[in-house]
Symmetry: C2
Subunit: 210 residues, 2 copies
DNA sequence: GTCTATAGCCTGATAGAC
DNA sequence: GTCTATCAGGCTATAGAC
C-alpha cells in the first residue's frame, strides 16, 4: 500500500490538519483582498502572498479564483444573517428591534471586511449571489417582516413599512463599515462608534415607540 | 495658412463641436462602465465601445484610464453635494431637513449610476478622492452640522448628533441606488420608490419633531 | 503537496498610415 | 482626428519536476 495521505491514519474527515489550516488561511486572506479590491480587482498573487502560499499551491486547494470567491461568500452568508434570525417573536417588540440594531452595528465594528465584501458584490449587481438574494434572503426577510407587522397590528410598535424598516437597519449599520473612510474623513479624530450606538438607539425609539 | 482645427473659425473655446460631443459621450460611457464594475473592473474596450469610439481614439481625448476616471469624479463631485448645500439657514428647520432627504432620495432614483460610482470608490478605500473627502467635504459637512446644532439649540429640532444625522441621510437614501438589486430581490414586484419617500418622511418627522 | 517555469489570454498604451 | 496593428506587462491557470 502506498503512503498516500488518505492512508496516513492521522487524517480527519479526509483532510489533514495542514489542509484545514491552509484552507482557513486562504479564506481569511481572500476575505482581506476581495473585500478591499472587489472580485475583479483582486489578484491571486495578493491572496497567495497573504496566505503564505505559492500561487500554484493556492490553486491546488481551490481550482480557480472564482471557486475561492464563491466558497467565501457561501461560508459567510449564513453567519451574516444570524442577527436577523435571532429576532424573537416572544420578546418585547421594541426591545427586539433595538437589540437587532445593536447586533448589526456590533458586526459592522467587529467584521468590517465581511460587510465590505457583500457591499462590493451587491453594488456591482450581485452577479455571484443573485439567487441567494431572491431565494433564502427574501424568504427570511418576508418572515421577519410579517413578525414586525404583527407587532404593529398589536399596537406594540408605531406603524411603519416593515420591509423598509429592515432596509433602514441594514443601511444605517453597514454604512459605518462600508463607508468607513468617508465617515472618518468627516469626523476627524472622533471615533464613529462612540456616538453611533446612542444615535441609532434614539432614532429607532423615537420612530417606533407606539 | 493650414486648414488646422484652430483656424476653422467654428471652434468654441479651443474645442470643436465634435470634440465636445465626443468628450461628453466618453464621460457618459465611462459613468456606465465604472459605476457597474469599479475602476479596476472596467476596461477601456468597454468604455470605447459604449462611447462609439475606437480604443486609440478614446486615448486621444484622455491620455489614460485614470485620467478618464478622475475627470469623471471631479465633474460629478460638485453636483453630488448640491442637495446638501441647498440647506437654508433661513428656512424652517424640520422642513429643510425633510426637503434635503427628499432631494437625496430623488437623486438616488434619477442618478443611480453616480451613486454607485462613489459607492464603489469609497467602499474600496477612496484611493482617488481621499483628499476631497478630508478637505472640501468635511468643511461643508462641518458647516451644515453647525447649522443643525443651532436649530437644536433653538428648540426647533429634537436633540441628535448632527454629524450622525447627516450620515443617516446619506446612508438611507443612497441605499436605494447602491443596493438596488438587493432591495428589488427582497421586494419582488413592488417598486422600492413607491413607499420609500413616505417611510423616510415619517422616520425623520418622528425622530426630529421637538 | 509544494515548488519553478511557462503557456495563453487580456489589458493599457503607443506607433504610424491616412 | 481616426484608424489598424502591435508592443509590453500582468493575469489566471497548467505542466511537470521533486
Amino acid at each position: 500500500m502506498s503512503n498516500s495521505s488518505s492512508a496516513r491514519g492521522l487524517s480527519t474527515g479526509g483532510a489533514t490538519r495542514i489542509q484545514k489550516r491552509n484552507r482557513a488561511a486562504i479564506l481569511d486572506a481572500a476575505l482581506d483582498v476581495f473585500s478591499t479590491h472587489g472580485f475583479r480587482g483582486a489578484t491571486l498573487d495578493q491572496i497567495a502572498g497573504a496566505a503564505g502560499l505559492s500561487k500554484p499551491n493556492l490553486l491546488y486547494y481551490y481550482k480557480s479564483k472564482e471557486a475561492i470567491y464563491t466558497a467565501l461568500l457561501e461560508a459567510l452568508l449564513d453567519t451574516w444573517l444570524d442577527p436577523m434570525r435571532a429576532l424573537d417573536p416572544e420578546g418585547d417588540a421594541l426591545g427586539e428591534i433595538l437589540a437587532y440594531v445593536r447586533r448589526k452595528l456590533d458586526m459592522s465594528r467587529s467584521h468590517p471586511r465581511e460587510s465590505r465584501l457583500f457591499a462590493n458584490e451587491i453594488v456591482q449587481g450581485a452577479p455571484h449571489i443573485h439567487n441567494a438574494l431572491a431565494g433564502d434572503l427574501r424568504a427570511l426577510v418576508d418572515d421577519k417582516a410579517a413578525l414586525i407587522q404583527s407587532w404593529i397590528d398589536a399596537g406594540k410598535l408605531a406603524p411603519v413599512h416593515p420591509h423598509h424598516l429592515i432596509f433602514s437597519i441594514w443601511s444605517l449599520t453597514q454604512h459605518y463599515a462600508d463607508f468607513d473612510v468617508q465617515v472618518r474623513a468627516v469626523l476627524g479624530d472622533e471615533d464613529p462608534f462612540a456616538a453611533a450606538p446612542g444615535f441609532l438607539d434614539t432614532l429607532y425609539r423615537r420612530m417606533l415607540q407606539p
